[in-house]
């Protein structure tokens, strides 16, 4: 039998009261490297073993504050500086809206961080090759007994004395625990063939999967990024309109292009004045049409009587009066030109009025001009 290195000596107790008093006695006898094992936490044991307060609260505080600060800072930077967008009219750094995420990240980091710190740093778990594993002692304390283990690393340790001591405080089933030499001597070999094979296989699997996903799967429906869409493309043969037909259809007969009705005298008001003649006769019907259209389209700026006293007074530059000498001397064509092309602040009204309507307005304007400069005989 090879030389076994001793880990410690264990003893079993039956009741919680016994284990509490045993713990107190072990501690007061001066042992530092010892432990108590039980299937569940015993009230008052930390005090009996004189363990200090758990540091986990501080871990939680630090992790939590870090999480809070990090989340808030990240959101502030991303939404306030990196790519600010106006969302619902809120400020770029809307503090109330940042609170929920900040809170969640605080809790997440505090909880997970503290747990991981506890497991890895404080407990140094996972560790399945501790000398106490697989012993009868462990089988008992994980079920229904309570135990004390005094480690050999303790300064006051002496195998025989410790066994006597444990007997004296009432321990049963006293057992000496040894290290598992195999576990102790285990050396990590980085070139172990199983590990290398595992690395190679995982590299192959991962790269293969990545290739398939990014180059094949992405182009298969439904993942192909809406690349293939059931829509009608102009230059492509259309399924909808039948074989040999493009989705882009030929215009039906009689279609006139939008810009085909160009105003002949565009940019040439004198020519319009000279060449254009009002095709409409000043009948009551035409004048009424003109009045109606004038009231709708012209009165906002020119006023109802053409004086320029419009209800947009002040908000838009007031137009000069239509009863000035200049305008009264214009030909009908010139007025038609101004309505069609606009001038200065006045826009073109071609998109709102048909040519016929414009001529009717010209009639009405003439009527207004005559009314403004009425002579004796007009009243008769």
């Amino acid at each position: 039998m090879e030389n076994k290195i001793i880990y410690g000596v264990t003893g079993i107790f039956d009741t919680p009261d016994e284990i509490i008093s045993a713990a107190k006695q072990v501690k007061s006898s001066g042992f530092e490297r010892f432990d108590v094992h039980s299937p569940y936490p015993i009230h008052g044991m930390p005090k009996a073993m004189r363990l200090g307060a758990s540091p986990l609260g501080y871990f939680a505080l630090v992790f939590g504050l870090t999480g809070a600060f990090a989340a808030f800072a990240l959101m502030t930077y991303l939404m306030g500086y990196d790519y600010p967008l106006i969302i619902s009219g809120k400020p770029f750094i809307p503090i109330p809206a940042f609170i929920p995420v900040t809170f969640e990240v605080t809790v997440l980091l505090a909880s997970v961080g503290t747990v991981l710190a506890m497991l890895f740093l404080l407990f140094k778990l996972p560790n399945n090759s501790h000398p106490l594993h697989d012993t009868d002692y462990m089988k008992k304390v994980s079920s229904n007994k309570f135990g004390v283990c005094i480690e050999a690393k303790d300064e006051k340790f002496n195998e025989a004395e410790v066994i006597e001591f444990l007997k004296s405080i009432g321990a049963k089933d006293i057992e000496v625990i040894y290290y598992d030499n195999e576990a102790l001597n285990f050396k990590v070999n980085i070139f172990e063939w199983m590990f290398v094979a595992f690395l190679v296989v995982s590299a192959l699997v991962v790269s293969g999967a990545t290739y398939i996903v990014l180059n094949k799967l992405m182009f298969a429906p439904p993942f192909n990024w809406m690349m293939e869409q059931h829509r009608l493309d102009a230059q492509v043969e259309s399924k909808f309109f039948g074989k040999g037909n493009f989705s882009m259809r030929v215009a039906p007969a009689g279609t006139v292009s939008r810009n085909s009705n160009q105003f002949k005298f565009s940019g040439q008001p004198e020519l319009a004045d000279a060449k254009l003649i009002n095709p409409l006769i000043p009948t009551e019907e035409n004048l009424r049409k003109g009045m109606k259209k004038y009231d709708i389209y012209c009165s906002p700026c020119h006023g109802y009587y053409g004086i320029g006293d419009a209800r947009l007074n002040g908000q838009f530059p007031n137009p000069p009066s239509l009863h000035s000498e200049k305008v009264r001397n214009w030909g009908d064509g010139h007025i038609f030109y101004v309505i069609t092309e606009g001038q200065n602040s006045m826009p073109s009204y071609s998109s709102q009025l048909t040519n016929e309507e414009k001529w009717a307005i010209v009639l009405y304007v003439r009527a207004l001009q005559r009314a403004m400069n009425a002579k004796e005989e007009d009243v008769k």
């Binding site: 015993i42 073993m49 990240l74 909880s111 503290t114």
Partner: protein
């Protein structure tokens, strides 16, 4: 006053020994599944399969397979999401909040309830994922540097949901797992087969039952419970923000956060109670999941159901008081419009039937309490239906109104979600201890040392 009044009933009845606890709780795991279990698993797996097919079809053909229309853009997808997240809340409440209140009666049910939380949250998380239409782009929900130079909208409650639900899942999982470590270690030491021993050794991380570790373990449990409590409140609050931050009448109302949380606890407890009644019967856990425990759960249902009723009343009153015709209309429309049938199911199941729990006889009668809890679950599902669908279907402009009808695919996904939840639960029962072995042992009579009255601060010290 007789002594019986003074004595509190034992948390665990019958005075089992530690070894008996080990055996009783491990027995479902040790035994191979019997025919009843296999039939149950068959049923839930079929339900799950229906869901998988429905979801697969949805992925392939698109959300058009659902009944969602304009204006009812959210329907079964979000109803189911809120429903399942709510179910999860009972677990955390039992685990964390009852722990903080030092209620020992939680011991028998805490592990199971936590498991239900995790499975419910997993089921719930499906819905935001599948309802976006192209779930494979879900990575964009997380803020990572990308070539579009775009970030997520941190001010949107939909994004808060992403953080809240993932945090809730992670923390619940960690809490549950920490609780399982000592039990895995116990199972490791009891394991006869080599394979089981290896699995439990890995899962238990090598836990040694050292009191130096228990000391910190208790602290982490308290810390996790202390964090899980505001977390669970925040999760359903953030879910309620999905609706309440809008301007929709019927959605935009300040009482939504506590109302949703109370409703979540209400429906969660109903589901937990139902499942526990079945479990305790099948696995003979009646002395651990006692009638007293069930009665206390019914009381919690009564309390939270009353809070939900209060919220209904307040919403109704303020809808009138506010003077907003849109708000008043929504409430009248709920009660008398095209979805009145859903509204009255909701009111009767949530407000009327749970009031029966005022009576002790009913609180302690298992068949009746089972039925009431089923009705509560139905009622709470309909509450989300009423809130979401009626507000959307009849909002501001009558010209935008439309009636929503779910399709078979919608129902398939709903059935599938239940299938997922119950399948996971059944698998859980066979694979892990559904009752916390270590915690139960710790609350048995005689498990803790008798300590003399310690005077921490008596009379001014």
């Amino acid at each position: 006053m007789s002594i019986e009044v003074l004595k509190e009933p034992s948390v665990i009845e019958g005075k089992p020994t530690f070894v008996e606890i080990d055996e009783q709780i491990s027995s479902p795991i040790d035994k191979s599944p019997n025919i009843k279990y296999l039939i149950a698993l068959g049923i839930t797996s079929t339900m799950l399969l229906i869901g998988v097919i429905s979801i697969g079809a949805t992925f392939f053909y698109g959300i058009g397979l659902w009944g969602n229309n304009n204006p009812v853009g959210w329907a079964f997808d979000i109803i189911n999401f809120v429903f399942w997240v709510g179910i999860g809340h009972a677990g955390t409440l039992i685990s964390a909040i009852l722990f903080l209140f030092r209620q020992k009666w939680r011991t028998g049910i805490a592990r199971f309830a936590e498991g239900m939380t995790i499975f419910a949250v997993m089921t719930a998380a499906l819905f935001p994922l599948i309802h976006v239409g192209r779930p494979w782009l879900a990575g964009y929900l997380f803020p990572y540097p990308n070539q579009h130079h775009l970030w997520v909208n941190f001010t949107s409650p939909l994004l808060w949901d992403v953080f809240a639900v993932s945090t809730y899942f992670t923390v619940s999982f960690v809490f549950w797992y920490i609780g399982l470590i000592p039990d895995f270690a116990t199972l490791r030491d009891r394991a006869k087969s080599g394979v089981k021993k290896v699995i439990y050794s890995i899962l238990s991380l090598g836990w040694r039952f050292s009191n130096r570790h228990w000391h910190n373990y208790e602290m982490i449990y308290l810390i996790l419970a202390g964090f899980a409590t505001p977390l669970v409140l925040s999760v359903h609050t953030i879910v309620s923000f999905d609706f309440a931050v809008s301007i929709m009448p019927g959605w935009h109302t300040t009482i939504f956060p506590p109302y949703f949380v109370a409703g979540a606890v209400f429906s969660g407890f109903a589901m937990v109670q139902n499942v526990l009644i079945i479990i305790r019967k099948i696995f003979n856990f009646e002395h651990i999941i006692t009638l007293d425990t069930l009665e206390k759960m019914n009381k919690i249902m009564l309390a939270t159901g009353s809070m939900v009723g209060y919220a209904y009343g307040m919403e109704f009153f303020i809808a009138w008081y506010s003077g907003s015709q849109f708000e008043s209309f929504v409430f009248i429309n709920r009660a008398f419009g095209p979805y009145a049938w859903a509204y009255w199911i909701m009111v009767s199941c949530n407000v009327v039937f749970p009031q029966l729990f005022w009576f002790k006889k009913i609180r302690r009668n298992i068949p009746i309490m089972f039925v009431i809890a089923v009705l509560v679950n139905v009622g709470m599902w309909f509450e989300r239906f009423v809130i979401i669908v009626t507000s959307l279907a009849h909002d501001f402009m009558p010209s935008s109104w439309a009636y929503y009808k779910p399709t078979l695919v919608d129902f398939g996904i709903l059935i599938g979600s239940s299938g997922l939840f119950f399948t996971l639960l059944l698998l859980f029962i066979k694979a892990m201890p559904v009752i916390s072995i270590a915690e139960v042992k710790a609350v048995l009579d005689g498990a803790q040392p008798h300590h003399h009255t310690h005077n921490g601060g008596r009379n001014g010290k």
